[in-house]
């Protein structure tokens, strides 16, 4: 193997890292511009975000606890993307997964602890997967793009959960929430950090990310899934059941989002309440795309986005600017990363851009 070839392979492996770091650079530049418009010092804004995310052990604990649902929804989006699908419905799947996990834990509280704890999480994941089913059915039988159907399903899921938690499944108070889940199903605190505690949930999500990465890049099944994205026609001719793999992967993706909700219930809130998710489902899209949808690198973008998420209230407290600033920053990160994957232009050959010439290895290395 020539040196150039080896370099190319290493560069391909590091692609997610490069894409995220360059998006982050754009994001920091944009932060400075934004700070100017908001009338705060540019370094004040960046340091406020940093302090909100990692300044002190309480902030770090909050960030790490937010990392669990973000990592899982990010995995959900990236797994679906590896099969050539785009799952925007994490929000709804997460909400219903959380609701069903909470309800299962409450109604099945007489089960032995060894069964109850895993079953609660599994039920959440199953319901999340089930909520992804109509979308993939519409995609395959009616040729409706899954982005449209999952977005519509989000609204239905949120209203459905809202009705259930205010009506038949609520605890009867005016708080629009379910009763607390039995202690046997609650994940214990493992690690005291400041006044807050962390459970094993972030670790579990991280292990799941590793498993998914190995499944996608080191097994035959994963190879078939990725083939469905890269070239569905070639995959079909090679005897890969493209539709079946896409269905399975999309259901898996929904299950991951449902799992995010279930873990949120058993590890943090211990109950379900109305307006459960503060937008974790949509953050998952940013998390996944920041690292080119590679599950093994998702932890990196999760740390970034979870930091932004937990800094939003701090921005309001320390600088008096709206927490929505975080959404703007996320959008800029997403645009910056989307611009890196350049779509091919049909028909005419284009001159490489200056940027491309500077930072690109030759496609065919000289022998």
């Amino acid at each position: 193997m020539s040196v150039a070839k080896g370099r190319q392979i290493i560069r391909e492996k590091l692609n997610p890292l490069i894409s995220m770091v360059s998006a982050l650079a754009v994001g920091i530049l944009f932060c400075m511009v934004l700070a100017f418009f908001l009338g705060v010092g540019s370094f004040d804004l960046i340091s406020a975000i940093w302090n909100g995310a990692w300044g002190g052990s309480n902030a770090a604990a909050t960030t790490l606890s937010k990392a669990t649902p973000l990592l899982l929804t990010g995995l959900s989006v990236s797994v679906a993307y590896q099969a050539g699908l785009l799952n925007i419905g994490c929000e709804g799947q997460l909400t219903l997964g959380a609701l069903s996990a909470a309800c299962f834990a409450i109604s099945a509280s007489r089960l032995p602890e060894l069964l109850l704890m895993p079953l609660t999480v599994i039920v959440g994941a199953l319901v999340g997967g089930l909520w992804a089913l109509p979308a993939i059915w519409l995609r395959q039988k009616r040729n409706i793009h899954e982005v449209v159907s999952t977005l519509l399903l989000n609204y239905v899921a949120i209203y459905l959960a809202d009705y259930l938690v205010r009506g038949p499944l609520g605890d009867g108070s005016a708080m629009a929430r379910t009763a607390e889940i039995p202690p046997a199903s609650i994940w214990p605190v493992w690690w005291k950090l400041g006044t807050l505690g962390l459970t094993a949930a972030p670790l579990a999500a991280l292990i799941l990310a590793c498993i998914l990465h190995i499944w996608l890049y080191r097994t035959c099944w994963g190879y078939e899934v990725i083939a469905c994205k890269n070239n569905p026609f070639a995959a079909r001719s090679a005897g890969i059941a493209v539709n079946r793999w896409q269905t399975r992967t999309f259901l898996l993706s929904g299950a991951l989002a449902g799992l995010a909700g279930a873990l949120e219930v058993v590890a943090i809130h211990h109950r379900f309440y109305a307006a459960f998710s503060p937008g974790y489902g949509f953050d998952g899209i940013t998390v996944a795309f920041l690292v080119n949808n590679v599950p093994g690198w998702t932890w990196l973008s999760t740390i970034l986005i979870a930091g932004l998420r937990s800094a939003d209230k701090w921005l309001q407290l320390s600088l008096g600017i709206s927490p929505n600033t975080i959404l703007v920053l996320q959008a800029v990160l997403l645009i910056a990363v989307a611009c890196q994957s350049r779509l091919p232009v049909t028909g005419i050959a284009r001159w490489r851009t200056v940027f491309g010439r500077l930072f690109r290895y030759p496609d065919q290395p000289q022998q």
Binding site: P134, S322, A338, C339, L343
Partner: protein, 304 residues
């Protein structure tokens, strides 16, 4: 009388979806996927309120709404056509951007969270003295007097769009770019320029749809005022099979389901109100599920 009110309510609910739909149609017929309608509507709704607040005239506000949509459209076409990003990802990012920017600006300009102070509304039909019209004047005054003037304008605009695509050369050029950009380029059209302007003009229409929500129906901007209407508009686009008349029917269906959900919420007050809120989305999903046959999207949709 009741049914007449339902009709006028339907028209009122259809108008924003229809405007957004037509915006999406222009952009998608030019071959650019436009899921950013939600963001365009949201930005349009906010800018309409802001400019009305500053200038005092809701008509300038309406123009501001169009400008807001055009701005998001400009960003979308810049990111998709010049920087060649994935068009769906770009749309999602722009929806996020619009949600964030409107929230931030609401706080920066009005120093409030959630709802802006109320501003002047666009005139209703009643203020134009429809009684003086022959034949249907009285009917309009009684049944549809409370409708914003933008509602009939929206329907007029949709017919104009229809005529534009059916009879004008520009309409043909736009469709050529969406069907086969290579052929269009060979025939001497500047595909990128046409797509750019199509997305921006579409943005103007969608922004006006947003302005309808903020200064036509209400008289203030509320965070997330669009409530997924941009997504309903995309669904209507699919349902109407990228044909202007089909889209008009699809938008009317969604308008009817929104109107009847308000109607039913009063009639059947015993049922949970979330059911009525979810009704438009449920109807949309049901109709998409029932739809069979060949859907002819522009063949180069999403490709450069």
């Amino acid at each position: 009388m009741a049914s007449l009110q339902l009709i006028s309510l339907t028209i009122g609910k259809t108008a924003p979806i229809l405007l957004a739909c037509m915006g999406g149609l222009i952009s998608e017929l030019a071959g650019v996927i436009n899921f950013a309608l939600e963001g365009m509507m949201l930005t349009g709704a906010f800018l309409a309120v802001w400019l009305t607040f500053v200038c005092g005239s809701p008509w300038i506000g309406l123009m501001g709404g169009a400008l807001g949509g055009m701005f998001i459209g400009f960003l979308h076409s810049l990111v998709c056509l010049k920087l060649r990003a994935n068009q769906i990802v770009s749309s999602i990012a722009l929806n996020l951007l619009a949600a964030g920017v409107t929230g931030v600006l609401l706080n920066q300009i009005f120093q409030v969270y959630g709802t802006s102070p109320s501003v002047g509304k666009l005139p209703t039909l009643r203020q134009f003295k429809p009684e003086s019209l022959p034949f249907i004047g009285n009917w309009i005054a009684t049944a549809a007097g409370d409708l914003s003037i933008l509602a009939p304008l929206a329907i007029l605009l949709s017919f104009l769009t229809m005529a534009f695509f059916k009879w004008s050369v520009w309409g043909l050029h736009i469709r050529a770019c969406g069907e086969n950009p290579l052929a269009a380029r060979t025939a001497g059209l500047s595909v990128t320029l046409i797509r750019f302007s199509a997305v921006i003009v579409g943005g103007a229409l969608a922004g006006m749809g947003g302005a309808y929500l903020s200064i036509g129906e209400l008289s203030a901007f509320v965070e997330h005022i669009t409530q997924g209407r941009g997504y309903l508009a995309i669904a209507a686009l699919i349902l109407g099979r990228w044909k202007p008349f089909g889209i008009l029917l699809a938008a009317l269906l969604f308008g009817l389901s929104e109107a009847s959900s308000e109607w039913l919420a009063v009639t059947w007050a015993g049922l949970p109100y979330q059911l009525f809120l979810a009704l438009p989305y449920l109807v949309c999903l049901a109709v998409l599920m029932g739809q069979v046959g060949n859907k002819q999207a522009p063949s180069s949709l999403g490709r450069l």
